[in-house]
């Protein structure tokens, strides 16, 4: 490989397919690319097996047997919540692929699903640590080379602008590295703005920053304001069991209208001026027992603090999960999870999930199904692309694309500035009154603040040639996400899905379009020319075929 700008101690590798990330989507992509015959390298920022939102948690899976009535019900269930921006054709193929993938996890991966009492297994959920441990074993058996603690910081492109690899930093070896590859899959997760939501501090949106630098578009960035409930002192953002909860004021009176699924904004609004308390007091003894078996980690904070959440009230908070539980991400342009950039594929939370969820979070269940499906397609697509290049791959002359936080346009600033950038971004994106309870009067100044943060960091934020580069790139990715998010939030002048505008209540029928944003120094926004395929359009398609 011919390279430019390479430091002498850079560790160099080459691969057919390079998968960036180490959560479920990355694991499925690497596994399927290897099965398709590609030579695969996977690099995770942390450790593939513990990294990301799934490993530390556990999740339901949108696993629906192929019975037409059940599938129809599964697809119809969330369309209204998502503002009819989802796409039925994608839902149908995700349901098919997830069913196949979960069965493979059970049969080949030997994941210990619970028995269903009738000789079969219940395959509608997975425990995070067990799931990701099994996925790592599958990868090893498939011959995937895994690089742990090796965050990727930038993409490499060939002379035609096709993605030809990526470069990063290996923390344990204290050296830069780069992987030249026929195709790259970005499966870096969403962006939770370092809010301490469970397992999400590795999800800083690095993939979207890199994709945008290569010219890819993003979709649905206004749907990026998911906030999860957690005990006030803790990181455990597992929200399912709060459907059994009652919420209270400090004086013990019930907080009317508050709820986990509906009424989270009531909680947010109340939290602006007083504490909110919670008790999981609507679960009977059987439900309590089942909850402890199903989600052991939900109870860790309570057990360790000596709180019985079923009988005692505890203070709660809302932590921003951004595009981890939101649905915005890198735009997909093909059934193989390709992007508009040749050689670049996306999977999991790094990609938009509007295709199956529209503008409302799918919760863990849809996201888990999406990770399996999009990972499978992106892995196979990348393998096919790499194979099509033939031996040419290794001889491509490549250049590196990283800008903000890596190659400042002005005089490089002092070390340690990344922390200040993160704090400045968080001050604009974490507060409920700005990001959850949206209003132009608050969004516009917040966006202006983020633009100014960006200009400053673009000019001077610099990580040098050591590990600090990981922090500066993360900070740049957070700032970019904040700007894409609020640009789209201002452009969508209505309320739809999780995007709720206090100044624009109600949906505008003429705005039933996904919104695309692109660019870094200048951000563009436009409606997606591809219309969503809702239930009626889908019925029309099927009648026509």
């Amino acid at each position: 490989m011919t390279v430019t700008g390479l430091s002498p101690h850079t560790h160099e590798l080459s691969a057919g397919v390079f998968v960036v990330g180490g959560g479920p989507a990355a694991a499925w992509a690497a596994y399927k690319a290897a099965q398709a015959g590609a030579d695969v390298v996977l690099a995770d920022k942390g450790y593939c097996g513990t990294s990301g939102a799934t490993a530390a948690a556990g999740t339901g899976v949108w696993y629906v047997p192929p019975h037409p009535a059940e599938r129809e019900k599964a697809m119809a269930g969330r369309e209204a919540l998502g503002g009819y921006l989802a796409d039925r054709r994608w839902m149908a193929r995700v349901l098919d692929q997830t069913y196949e993938g979960v069965n493979e996890l059970a049969d080949t991966g030997r994941y210990p699903f619970p028995p269903d009492g009738a000789g079969g297994q219940l395959r509608r959920g997975v425990q995070g640590p067990e799931y990701m441990r099994r996925m790592r074993i599958l990868l090893r058996r498939a011959g995937v080379r895994i690089l742990d603690h090796s965050p990727v910081v930038e993409l490499l492109v060939d002379a035609d602008g096709a993605v030809a690899g990526a470069a990063g930093y290996q923390r344990r070896h204290d050296r830069p590295y780069r992987v030249s590859a026929g195709a790259v899959v970005l499966a870096t997760g969403g962006c939770a703005f370092l809010s301490r939501a469970l397992g999400c501090d590795v999800n800083t949106g690095d993939g979207a920053l890199m994709a945008a630098e290569a010219g890819a578009e993003l979709s649905g960035m206004e749907f990026s304001n998911a906030y999860a409930l957690a005990p006030e002192f803790s990181s455990v953002t597992k929200t399912a069991y709060y459907s059994f909860a009652t919420f209270y004021h400090e004086d013990g009176t019930v907080l009317e209208g508050a709820g986990s699924q509906k009424g989270r904004s009531v909680i947010a609004r109340t939290l602006l001026t007083e504490k909110v308390y919670c008790r999981i007091d609507r679960a009977d003894a059987d439900a309590q027992r089942a909850m402890r078996l199903a989600q052991a980690n939900f109870f860790l904070p309570f057990d360790r603090m000596g709180i019985d959440p079923f009988t005692q009230r505890f203070p709660v908070t809302l932590l921003l999960e951004g595009t981890v539980r939101g649905t915005g991400g890198i735009r997909i342009t093909g059934d193989d999870c390709a992007t508009s950039v040749p050689g670049l594929y996306v999977a999991g939370d790094a990609a938009t999930r509007e295709l199956i969820c529209g503008g409302f979070t799918g919760g863990g269940s849809h996201n888990a199904a999406w990770a399996i499906s999009s990972g499978t397609w992106a892995g196979r697509g990348a393998a096919r692309h790499a194979a099509s290049l033939g031996p040419l791959t290794a001889r491509r002359r490549v250049s590196a694309l990283g800008g903000a936080g890596l190659r400042p346009t002005g005089k490089p600033g002092r070390p340690g500035a990344a922390r200040e950038v993160v704090a400045a971004v968080q001050a604009e994106v974490l507060p409920y009154e700005k990001n959850l309870l949206r209003h132009e009067d608050r969004l516009a100044p917040a966006l202006a603040g983020l633009h100014s943060t960006w200009s400053g960091l673009r000019a001077s934020l610099y990580g040098g040639d050591g590990a600090e580069v990981v922090a500066t790139r993360q900070a740049a990715a957070l700032a970019a996400h904040g700007r894409w998010m609020y640009t789209a939030a201002l452009a969508r002048q209505e309320t739809r899905g999780m995007h709720k505008r206090e100044d624009r209540p109600g949906a505008d029928p003429s705005s039933r379009r996904r919104l695309l944003v692109s660019g870094l120094d200048e951000i563009q926004v436009r409606p997606d020319p591809v219309a969503p395929v809702g239930p009626q359009e889908y019925a029309g398609l099927r009648a026509a075929s």
Binding site: T50, A56, P114, G125, Y131, G199, K262, N297, R304
Partner: protein
């Protein structure tokens, strides 16, 4: 956040150094890993799950606990059955049944869905 690496229990296998997703530990000069970057700990409990000898304790708070807290006291967390508690719950370790095999949650009470608005279709 990670509070305790038990000097007594640790066998120096460095598994925590390897598996921590945010690279909080470094290998220690005496064989016992050290908490090198506590501010990067995201309180995900994964190091506990992977520690083969239950030598680690993560307090549930997302910030370090105050100096006098019992959650910094190895004798207290051991006596309270908290050391190794997570690994036991997920059924990792010799002779245990994987927690995944028994992970059947309750049916969740569902709020009534909003009636679909005609103009969205």
């Amino acid at each position: 956040m990670i509070e305790i690496v038990s000097q007594e229990r640790c066998i120096g296998c460095d598994r925590c150094v390897e598996v921590c997703p945010t690279s909080v530990f470094d290998t220690g000069p005496g064989g016992i890993p050290v908490i090198a970057r506590v501010q990067d700990c995201q309180t995900c409990f994964m190091c506990e799950a992977y520690c083969p000898v239950d030598a680690l304790f993560v307090a549930p708070q997302a910030e370090p606990v105050e100096p006098g807290s019992p959650l910094r006291d190895e004798a207290y967390v051991t006596a309270a059955g908290l050391l190794g508690g997570y690994r036991k719950k997920i059924g990792w370790g010799r002779g245990r049944t994987p927690g995944a095999l028994r992970a059947v949650g309750p049916d969740l009470p569902r709020p009534t869905p909003a009636p679909p608005r005609k103009e969205h279709r």
